[in-house]
Subunit: 577 residues, 2 copies
Amino acid sequence: MDKQQPSSSAALPDRTAANDEAPEGEKVSKKAAKKAEAKAKKAAAKAERQAANPAAQQQQEPSEDPAKDNYGKDLHPFPAALSPSAEKINLRSLGDSHFGKVVVLRAWMQNVRMQGAKMAFMELREERNWAIQGVLQVSKEGSENVVSKNMVKWVGGIPAETFVAVEATVEKPYEPIKSCRVTDYELHIRKCFVLAAAPAMLGMTLAVANRAITNFSDEEAKEAPGEKTETETEQAGPVATMLTHLDNIVMHKRAPVQQAIADVRIEVKELFRSYLRSHNFREFEAPCLIGAASEGGANVFQLPYFNKEAFLAQSPQFYKQIEIAGGRKRVFGIGPVFRAENSNTPRHMTEFTGLDMEMEIVESYQEVLHMLERVLLHIFHGIKERCAEEIKTIRSIYPSEDVLLPEPGKEVRLSFAEGQKLLREEGPEEFRDVRDDEDMSTPQEKALGALIRAKYHTDFYVLDKFPESARPFYAKVDPESDGSVTNAFDFFLCGQEILSGGQRINDPDELEGRIRAKGVDPASGGIKDYIDIFRQAGVPPHGGGGIGLDRVVSFYLNLPSVQLAAYFPRTPKRLTP
Amino acid sequence: MDKQQPSSSAALPDRTAANDEAPEGEKVSKKAAKKAEAKAKKAAAKAERQAANPAAQQQQEPSEDPAKDNYGKDLHPFPAALSPSAEKINLRSLGDSHFGKVVVLRAWMQNVRMQGAKMAFMELREERNWAIQGVLQVSKEGSENVVSKNMVKWVGGIPAETFVAVEATVEKPYEPIKSCRVTDYELHIRKCFVLAAAPAMLGMTLAVANRAITNFSDEEAKEAPGEKTETETEQAGPVATMLTHLDNIVMHKRAPVQQAIADVRIEVKELFRSYLRSHNFREFEAPCLIGAASEGGANVFQLPYFNKEAFLAQSPQFYKQIEIAGGRKRVFGIGPVFRAENSNTPRHMTEFTGLDMEMEIVESYQEVLHMLERVLLHIFHGIKERCAEEIKTIRSIYPSEDVLLPEPGKEVRLSFAEGQKLLREEGPEEFRDVRDDEDMSTPQEKALGALIRAKYHTDFYVLDKFPESARPFYAKVDPESDGSVTNAFDFFLCGQEILSGGQRINDPDELEGRIRAKGVDPASGGIKDYIDIFRQAGVPPHGGGGIGLDRVVSFYLNLPSVQLAAYFPRTPKRLTP
């Protein structure tokens, strides 16, 4: 039994504001912030010393506390002192039928403040932003359920983000509670146990964790972490850098905005998967470890593999084509891909998730283009519907508007040449001379996105028939063209590429010819293996595409970086947590 | 336009048997096999020379061939000569309403044989083992749809596994076709185009690809590939080693047995995912690239990562616990994990797929155990129902019987000590002295599996309360015990472990104590980060488990190796394809 009654409260500053931070609107000078931090650290150290020696602490408390069995620390998931007959509630399903009933709630102590010595108000957060007000009041003499002054003091000192179990009656508050999502009920607490204590001072408060991140720099400010980790902005209160968020991953993930982003990401995957499954696509899994750098060798991670070398796959391209060659007809896969690119932009990570598909072509590669268009529209419409609440939460932190989508039958598909023409004729000055045989730059893409939005009222569109020079060796040259354009396309959302796809060459001789024409040696390791696939047996005409999941999520939600869409973002300087 | 009329037929031996191999039952001596191979290679080389020069070939053919527009090679997905009004059929949906209709089928030429000079019979396989008989016959003079002798000869020479598009009428065969899955229809061919040619000689025939693999040795026989790749067994015909299968991955994957295994694997994942989703589990994704070897450092792949070192994750343990700490309550993830273990056993690969889950515990870790039990039973019952046809296909190659599952409410859960007692008292002689504080060996596990099967009539059971010494540092010691056993368990299928799980320590001080007791430095890289998670904020009691997907699939189906359950198996010596 680990029951003990630490008194972290003594170490905590008096809580009058909503959290351990400056009141809203008040500007904190750097100096003051530093001072406050030093003070808090001192207090935290004191609290730790005390917590480590509960026996000494207990001596200070009157052992005859009549409420002593109703509170304390308890390492058991379900403290024995809680009534086994009390209903274990979830805040989402709380209703009028609960009025007056005794319930048990497990929640995070989001905030607690004393109202004099006999009363404490708290916000108990069960999950996401679902919180309810709890009230703890010293009981009248002779009451059945004793709440002592000691108990109120102890509960009032529970550090924020501590995991507690409370027993309480459900009551109607005097007026609707504005500070909590649950407005029409409150809990009158009679027992409160700490199941897992938070530190006296959090590395990052929930309020900070739930504000917009603007600084995604990979460079850690090592000299003065106290000053740089939380900087002042126009937002109401201090904000933290992405690095501070990653250093405090637990609080980062508890922020409702991050949970909402994760929920959107989950649904994007689910919509992709279920749509393709219902269209006879079969799942496959590409390996991460590969024997040769199949796509040229640039930006690839390499590692010792027993007596050989291995590489981390940059895409499942090779493998989804093997599935088609192997007779699977239509396949999709969701998995990690790796790029050893030393780029620090809002659009780059070294590990990210690809949504890939590949399918046989019956008459034209347009079948592939249309399938991809349909699955993406299904995703966009689907998350708007399924994740309305999550999107609202996200927009309260990262403002955005609905992306403009084409009406059915009015999808915008321009050829690459048409796109360049639009840029030349109606785009910014610097793009007057863009050429049809050169790939687009990111600024070009964004400018074109704006032009298409104005002209066609859509943020989602396709650029088809990319020039041969801008595509990899496996892209099928348009047989109706002079050889300069391919049956390959990119999809864009808000002027940024989210998908690359097209028809692949399925004839080994044609493939070998293109590889030679690209100046690549067809006998080199990964390349030879690739060509040989098409020599093993007749491979049907096919095409497919790869969608960047992190990009789709972050562009759709107008997030400032793909790092926010990832569970554990990997950048050249950051591999933890 | 790539239309041309190669005549690979000239290079192919006369086809009288069902395939390019010895008739069933006939034993081929090694010498004879070598001779046959040399002959076939010579023929293949000749065919290649001829195919490379179709013009020369065409000179030998009468240019006045009246059927010349009805056959040939055509690199377009849909040859222009095919009737656009013909229905494109799938064999699964072929019905009596198709009788007499003109249809188009795209399929692999599984087999073709001439019947004299005027007729050819073929097996056209659309997908998996769905094949139909095609008949091509020289047309009578004056027929609308001309089939010439040249055409029959050319089609008769199409190499096996070539992808073709045929136009035909659907007819009733004289008697049901035994050699094809579609028994009651046949196609009377009038046009036949090669869309993608197979080589004159396959590296591995479909018949061989579809036989049981018995040799999974990692050691390639380099000195005499011709002799060793296909060895004689008791099966009807030559079989190939796993390495030959991997060298001929396209044919390996075309084998109906491999497609059926992949289909079962897909459904296992889908059943896991959908069951947990419906029980409020949220998906998460663990990273592959990590900054420190969190689980001790043994058997971990390491790679240069810009100016640092990175490692490949051995499990998502750390990350699923971060999700719980981050307030996600119930999570699951499906993804790759890596072990740099130089083992060549039927149960090891260096990259495999984990099905992971983690959940808050409300009252007892038994909630986790029961949830995992339910999801696995859901999977086992689910694939039996959903994959009945696939399982039948697999059993025709790899015989097995239904695994014995417990009745609802009669799940078998033994404590580790009870398991050891059973082994001591009723197991083989060599296990008379097994101890309760030592982990089980694989032979012990298998012996116990046999004992439990005999006693409780189930192949699926749980061993709970593993000794502390046999579990990692994060396993929660049973607080009701003397400290020697944990709230940790393994699940077994047919005497082999498929899942490891249990309650985790969620108190940082308790965790640090255990880590020290295990002789690990709590300040070391990955370990410190791990402990710090629990110091960032109060983390609820939780537990979970990890299922080896490749193991579940291969044990359930009684496959001789987990390699057969993987899409692209990775072993210490094999990284390709």
